[in-house]
């Protein structure tokens, strides 16, 4: 299992970086895209975790020693199904949020805003005094 393909490593790292960057955006659409990209990165990582590529893992088609490890492939397949399902849910939620609020931005935290306005008020009072 000490196999490392540099191309794959760079691809996984790139997908993670882009995914997390998009997750930190304020627009919900970009957050959803970030989740999709991040999901691809994780699935790719799962595939790389299986070691070097090999023959199709079907008995009778190849020698067991030459086969690729089928377990990570099965796990990646499950993960793809899960991320796909949740992406559609996330899209629906983002759409719902857009119909309710009229924009697709993450809203400011209410308590954060309250603290900020209190601070502003205090500052103005200090200036007046």
């Amino acid at each position: 299992m000490s196999y490392l393909d540099l191309t794959m490593a760079v691809a996984v790292a790139g997908l993670y970086a882009v995914g997390f960057l998009l997750l930190l955006e304020r627009s919900l659409m970009r957050v959803v895209l970030g989740f999709i990209v991040l999901g691809h990165g994780t699935n790719l990582l799962l595939l790389v975790a299986g070691g070097p590529p090999g023959a199709v893992p079907i008995l009778g088609l190849a020698e067991p020693a030459a086969m690729a490890d089928p377990l990570p492939q099965a796990m990646a397949l499950t993960a793809i199904v899960i991320t796909f399902g949740l992406t559609t849910f996330l899209l629906a939620l983002a759409y719902r949020s857009w119909t309710f609020t009229g924009h697709d931005e993450v809203r400011d935290d209410i308590e954060d805003r309250r603290l900020e306005s209190a601070e502003h008020r205090r500052q103005r009072e200090r200036e007046l005094a």
Binding site: M1, F35, T42, M75, F89, L93, F100
Partner: protein, 513 residues
């Protein structure tokens, strides 16, 4: 093969499918959930008895050879948590049914509510029984996917915004979990927990530390460990009341359970873990200060939930039998007490017509029964003797004092202070809600929402289900002796995973009757 192990997962999944088909038959769809959960409860109790007498029960799904296939394991800890969680999910389901019977607007959601709730239960049960990392991931995903639907069930602007925060932060932690699984598989070539516990020991120290920390972060987000707790107080309080109760009581505990399982089995330590002790301290402090600052009753309870996750982390961080015993006892106490508290809060909000405590008052005159229901879990959460919270907190305090280091003494002091501040927060809530002049809807003025103006007695299921949960919390205190013994045995299993390992890897068992 022990078929019993599959029942707590398969039965709710099958029932979820049937509930979808049977949605048009009102009585059937109402009865299906409680009947299934009763059957699961019976199975869980049987599993607990068997696991306590014969050691861990193991089933290899599909009869695949050991480290490859899906493994289900029920040891004392899993079976115990299975019993407690099923009691809570059953009571909350009855509460939700009561609410749906009286609140017309909820009737619309019956076709979605039932399958989602049953899938949530199946996911929680599978998480407790999972014997490999990937299966744990699938279980948590199943549970979370159902919770995303439930939390946005009756969509309002607030719920959709909160649901977005909740969904995105949970999904991020899920993808990190998947990353951890990929890295673990690349390093060892297996995801079976028992197999991993032998193979991870051979890895370099740095790699092991990195994997342990990654899993700590993953489950830390799910368990709302400070500084990864920020999503919880914003999302849970906005959900429909019974959903909040079950999410708050169980979902974070699944995170803590996964942490307990992976850290003790995969990364055993000879001594306490300073990093986790510091995180436990931060969780207690930040949570309880948040709780004191809140005026909304559900937000206050959510912050109390966060602060008490610190107690569970403290038990795990000590990494000895006494600490783990305390953590397991605390988990049982906290699941029952918190679920009861959230249901009572739902009744209070319904009665008062608002969730802001400064607009409530005098409820003790109009609803003395509600006051009684509030006081028991509140005193239990604050850790007053002789209730269940005291038993669990005492075990944890003794364990941390016995560890005899500056850091553990500090933690013991912090735990006492957090308990006192919990008492303060809940006492202040009591005086605001129940004392003073009757105000709001309870004073007979017109409630903002006509539905809320109805009395909470309109369905006997509402106070009934709440009373059952409060009573089961009291039962935890009454049965403290046998439960402590059981928790000690479960903690000893965690501290010495030999038995778990040989039960899973040592070929098929012919356990069970």
């Amino acid at each position: 093969m022990n078929v019993l192990l599959a029942v707590p997962v398969l039965l709710p999944v099958l029932a979820a499918g049937s509930a979808m088909v049977l949605a048009r038959f009102r009585l059937t769809s109402l009865l299906l959930g409680p009947v299934i959960l009763l059957a699961v409860l019976g199975t869980a109790i049987a599993l607990l008895v068997l696991a306590d007498q014969h050691g861990p029960l193991v089933v290899q799904v599909g009869d695949w050879p050991v480290p490859i296939g899906i493994t289900l394991v029920a040891d004392r800890l899993s079976a115990l948590l299975l019993v407690v969680s099923t009691v809570v999910t059953l009571a909350v389901l009855l509460f939700a049914l009561g609410q749906r019977v009286t609140e017309t607007r909820y009737r619309v959601f019956v076709p979605v509510f039932h399958p989602s709730y049953l899938l949530l239960v199946a996911g929680i049960n599978l998480a407790f029984l999972a014997g490999d990392l990937f299966n744990l991931f699938v279980a948590i995903e199943m549970m979370l996917a159902a919770s995303y639907v439930l939390i946005t069930l009756d969509p309002t602007t607030v719920r959709v915004i909160a649901g977005m925060t909740y969904t995105v932060s949970s999904l991020t932690s899920s993808l990190l979990f998947l990353t951890a699984i990929g890295l673990v598989y690349a390093a060892t070539g297996t995801v079976n927990l028992a197999d991993l516990s032998a193979k991870l020991a051979a890895l370099p120290v740095g790699l092991r530390a990195a994997l342990a920390l990654l899993l700590l972060v993953v489950f830390g987000i799910k368990a709302a460990m400070v500084p990864l707790h920020f999503w919880l107080p914003d999302s849970y309080p906005t959900a429909p009341a019974p959903i909040t109760a079950v999410l708050a009581a169980l979902l974070t505990k699944v995170g803590v359970y996964a942490m307990l399982r992976t850290q003790t089995l995969l990364f055993p330590r000879p001594d306490f873990w300073p990093l986790l002790l510091v995180l436990a301290l931060a969780t207690m402090a930040v949570g309880i200060m948040g709780a004191i600052a809140q005026d909304d009753i559900n937000r206050m309870l959510s912050f109390i939930l966060v602060s008490h996750i610190g107690f569970l982390l403290l038990g795990l961080a000590l990494f000895n039998v006494a600490g783990l015993t305390g953590a397991i006892l605390y988990m049982i106490h906290h699941i029952t007490a918190l679920a009861a508290m959230f249901l009572v809060s739902a009744l209070i909000v319904w009665r008062a017509g608002t969730s802001a405590m400064r607009e409530m008052g005098g409820l003790v005159r109009t609803d003395p029964g509600l006051a009684a229901l509030f006081s028991l879990p509140a005193m239990s959460l604050a850790g007053l003797p002789p209730l269940s919270g005291f038993v669990a907190k005492f075990a944890l305090l003794r364990a941390s004092v016995d560890a005899a280091a500056v850091l553990t003494y500090t933690l013991a002091v912090a735990a006492v202070l957090t308990s006192l501040l919990t008492l303060y927060a809940l006492g202040r809530a009591w005086s605001r809600i129940f004392w003073g002049e009757p105000r709001g809807a309870s004073a007979g003025r017109e409630a903002p929402d006509k539905l809320k103006a109805r009395t909470w007695m309109s369905s006997p299921l509402l106070p009934g289900a709440t009373a059952v949960l409060v009573a089961s919390g009291v039962l935890v205190a009454v049965l403290a002796g046998p439960l402590t013994g059981l928790s000690q045995r479960a903690a000893a299993d965690l501290a010495n995973p030999q038995q778990y390992r040989s039960a899973v890897l040592g070929g098929e068992r012919d356990g069970g009757p």
